[in-house]
């Protein structure tokens, strides 16, 4: 079920009413409702894949208890941890990467002169959100193994934690220490929390419907027909893709966090205005935070993190970025994208500047940013945007061709919207959106945090008006990160 569908518009109030009015008195009943609602939410797409979620839930619930029981026997605990990792990565490996590895193997063998027909590739559907919920359940096993968490004895709570519908298909990838703890605790309806949730949902819809969906036809056109366009249009295409993917994914996250708030649950933040990052390290502290912290906690730190030699630290950085690239999709383009980010991150790390912006934002104590900050933000945006050529292109060769054409067709020509709309509208939209995000840059969970009720009222109106103005019935409204 898509957040931006009529189905969800009906589904959400129904679940809300049942949750707070019918099952209010029993935590167990509320959690059973959460599981049922989540399974309906997921099964709306394809009910057959519910079985994967269910198996993953059962296995990790059992494994968690075994790891805990065997805490004194490190070997046995490790064995059970590997069972969880193998099962979850096995699911991912089969459904997401099987064909990729088979194809890559065949290509490699062909390059050596052997001709193997691709008989091993299978027609496999990628289950929506598999990368998200497998990582979430693995984090549970890891946390128990590292003694950061005690396993729950309540299967219903655990199943609700795994399948919690607001974040089931595209995150944020939650830790049990945050989400499971809340699911195990009695929730009470708080007006402030629900109201703040609705505001986040509205802002998320704005980012999805107005920013991402209105830019999608332009980006699709430019990337599909890139051989027909000059450099100016290609640069425009990839720049707008930066805004599209940000609007799409952070919009989804805002709706997820807002929806969770309606049920008395606080999810972690996943985006903190990454477009205002002053270097690539800050960017990764602000973009898809739940994934980067997952890799940090469960891959980077166990490998030694930065507490090993510089050379090994660089190796660790390379590993997490390459794996992060592969996490996004079974395609070398994503691995290459991860590789570019690793190369951009390494100099920042070597200069010791990877944590300097962790606790502050651009123009921390001033109204306007300094010239240096503007330069830093622009440079980071350009580098990140450049890397997105690989993220968006279907193949490595088309990515390189795209870049080559930026160099060889270096001239300007005005771009005409494929559906005939005025491009000026979109430029103005992006400029106003960026300006507004700058204004609210200190608090990603309160997009309408203005003291004056008149200002807030005008903002709500403007946001709804923008949705009306930019709504396009013909656009495919699925979320980009669903495919990951």
């Amino acid at each position: 079920m898509l957040f931006n569908s009529l189905d969800f518009l009906i589904f959400l109030p129904v679940v809300f009413v049942l949750y707070w009015f019918v099952f209010k008195k029993s935590l167990k009943a509320q959690n059973i409702l959460v599981i049922a609602a989540s399974y309906v939410f997921y099964g709306w797409w394809d009910w057959r894949f519910l079985i994967l979620i269910f198996f993953s839930t059962v296995l990790d619930f059992f494994v968690g208890q075994q790891i805990f029981k065997n805490q004194d026997n490190k070997q046995r605990a490790k064995y059970w941890l590997w069972v969880s990792v193998a099962f979850n990565l096995g699911l991912l490996g089969f459904f997401k990467y099987y064909n990729f590895f088979v194809d890559s193997f065949i290509e490699a063998v062909s390059a050596l002169g052997y001709n193997i027909k691709s008989v091993w590739t299978l027609r496999i559907i990628l289950p929506v959100g598999i990368s998200f919920y497998t990582f979430q359940t693995m984090s549970y096993s890891f946390d128990i193994y590292y003694k950061k968490l005690e396993p729950t004895k309540n299967f219903i709570s655990f199943a609700a934690f795994v399948a919690f519908f607001p974040q089931l298909v595209a995150g944020p990838i939650e830790r049990a220490s945050n989400l499971l703890k809340q699911i195990n605790t009695r929730r009470s309806f708080k007006y402030e929390q629900a109201s703040s949730g609705l505001k986040l949902i509205l802002w998320g819809f704005f980012k999805k419907l107005v920013i991402a969906d209105s830019l999608a036809p332009i980006v699709d056109d430019i990337f599909t027909n890139y051989t027909d366009y000059p450099a100016s249009t290609l640069i425009l295409g990839v720049s707008l893709f930066s805004f599209q993917v940000y609007g799409d994914f952070s919009g989804y996250t805002d709706i997820a966090i807002g929806t969770a708030k309606l049920f008395g649950v606080e999810l972690m933040s996943n985006f903190k205005f990454p477009n205002f990052s002053r270097n690539i390290a800050e960017y990764w502290q602000r973009w898809h935070i739940s994934l980067s912290t997952w890799f940090r906690h469960y891959l980077y730190i166990p490998m030694g993190g930065s507490r090993v030699s510089k050379l090994k630290s660089l190796r660790n950085i390379a590993v997490i970025f390459l794996v992060s690239g592969l996490w996004h999709g079974a395609n070398w383009t994503f691995v290459f994208w991860g590789g570019i980010h690793a190369l951009l991150y390494m100099p920042v790390f070597l200069m010791g500047r990877n944590r300097i912006y962790a606790d502050n934002v651009i123009a921390e104590r001033t109204w306007l940013p300094s010239i240096t900050e503007i330069f830093q933000v622009l440079l980071t945006f350009i580098l990140v945007t450049f890397s997105r050529i690989f993220f968006r292109s279907p193949t490595l060769s088309s990515s390189f061709d795209f870049i080559e054409r930026i160099g060889s067709n270096f001239y300007y020509e005005p771009y005409m919207h494929p559906m005939g709309y005025r491009m000026f509208d979109f430029y103005l939209l992006i400029a106003l959106f960026t300006f507004y995000e700058y204004l609210i840059r200190r608090d990603e969970r309160n997009p309408f945090k203005f003291k004056s009720p008149v200002v807030r009222f005008l903002l709500y109106t403007l946001v709804v008006l923008s949705i009306l103005l930019f709504y396009d019935d013909g656009v495919n409204r699925s979320f980009i990160y669903f495919q990951f």
């Binding site: 005939g420 709500y460 709504y471």
Partner: protein
């Protein structure tokens, strides 16, 4: 929430984001038309992308001029559906006005009405025969695929009733709703209603818009049916071949029908080549109607045709 909706209503009205659909009725002659003496603006696209003024004259059609045919003037009647009605261009620069600009001493009467098919057109010419007897040339716009589906005219009372129903009146008076409806924002609700229908009528509910390729036999049957409808209508209402011409796009018209016209001395203006050769788009991008350039091409085709026939 209510205040937000009220403010949105004001904004939609102030910036005229909504489109106006002048009221329709069926007159004493059974002709579907607009209620006379209405002016307003038609809007296409969700950000006022195409904005044009219309004026419904005393005859009930969108035209900057009144229709006063007489024996001492040269008049041309242009009859057709929404393409001729032309809510996609200012009424002061309509196809008729452009023909008048290009042809000396001519008055063009645009009898355009959204939804007119060939039966509507023939009925109109017959119903207003006193006027049409005075009119020197008649051009009927024929969209072959849509306009020949019936061989008998019957006014569409259901549509008029539906448009004057309370539900539609509410939609038309709440401009925010009119705007939302136009841009398709309430489309999911309609789909939901269709799904509701599906429970009772599965065939209707799950009908898809899949393009099906006509087999030759089916195509033949379809052409025969359409030609029979055409024959039936001209037999019923009469067809003055000396002054009536069809306006059509050969690319979208069956060869059999074109052969039928040629064999029976029915003249037609085919505008397909000028559209094909045009380097600029000829239709609006937000919908399939002719844009200003397409309408200029149509006006030129007709003006050239009129000048050519006047020579003979």
């Amino acid at each position: 929430m209510l205040l937000i909706l009220l403010l949105l209503e004001v904004i939609v009205r102030v910036f005229h984001l909504y489109t106006e659909d002048p009221p329709r009725f069926i007159d004493a002659y059974g002709v579907e038309k607009r209620v006379p003496d209405h002016s307003g603006y038609a809007v296409t696209g969700n950000r006022n992308q195409n904005f044009s003024e219309f004026h419904i004259n005393k005859a009930g059609f969108n035209s900057y001029r009144e229709f006063t045919p007489s024996a001492d003037k040269f008049e041309l009647a242009l009859v057709g559906d929404s393409f001729i009605e032309g809510f996609h261009q200012d009424v002061s620069n309509s196809i008729g006005k452009q023909i008048e600009n290009q042809t000396e001493g001519i008055e063009v009467y645009e009898y355009g009405y959204a939804g007119y098919d060939f039966a509507n057109q023939m009925h109109l010419v017959h119903a207003y025969k006193n006027d049409f007897q005075l009119i020197d040339q008649i051009i009927l716009y024929l969209n072959y695929d849509n306009d020949l589906k019936r061989g008998v005219y019957k006014p569409n009372k259901d549509r008029i009733q539906m448009l004057s129903s309370t539900l539609f009146k509410i939609r038309d008076n709440i401009k925010l709703l009119a705007y939302g409806s136009k841009i398709g924002i309430i489309e999911p609700l309609k789909k939901l209603a269709q799904r509701g229908v599906a429970f009772n009528d599965t065939e209707e509910g799950y009908r898809t818009n899949e393009l099906t390729l006509d087999s030759e036999d089916e195509e033949l049957k379809r052409d025969q049916k359409r030609i029979a409808n055409f024959k039936s209508l001209i037999h019923l209402y009469g067809f003055d071949k000396s002054k009536t011409t069809l306006l059509l796009d050969r690319r979208k018209t069956s060869k059999r029908f074109l052969d039928f016209c040629r064999n029976n001395g029915i003249r037609y203006i085919d505008f397909s080549s000028s559209f094909e050769n045009s380097k600029r788009p000829t239709t609006l991008i937000y919908d399939h109607h002719w844009n200003a350039h397409g309408r200029a091409l149509i006006a030129k085709e007709i003006a050239d045709y009129v000048k050519e026939t006047q020579k003979h």
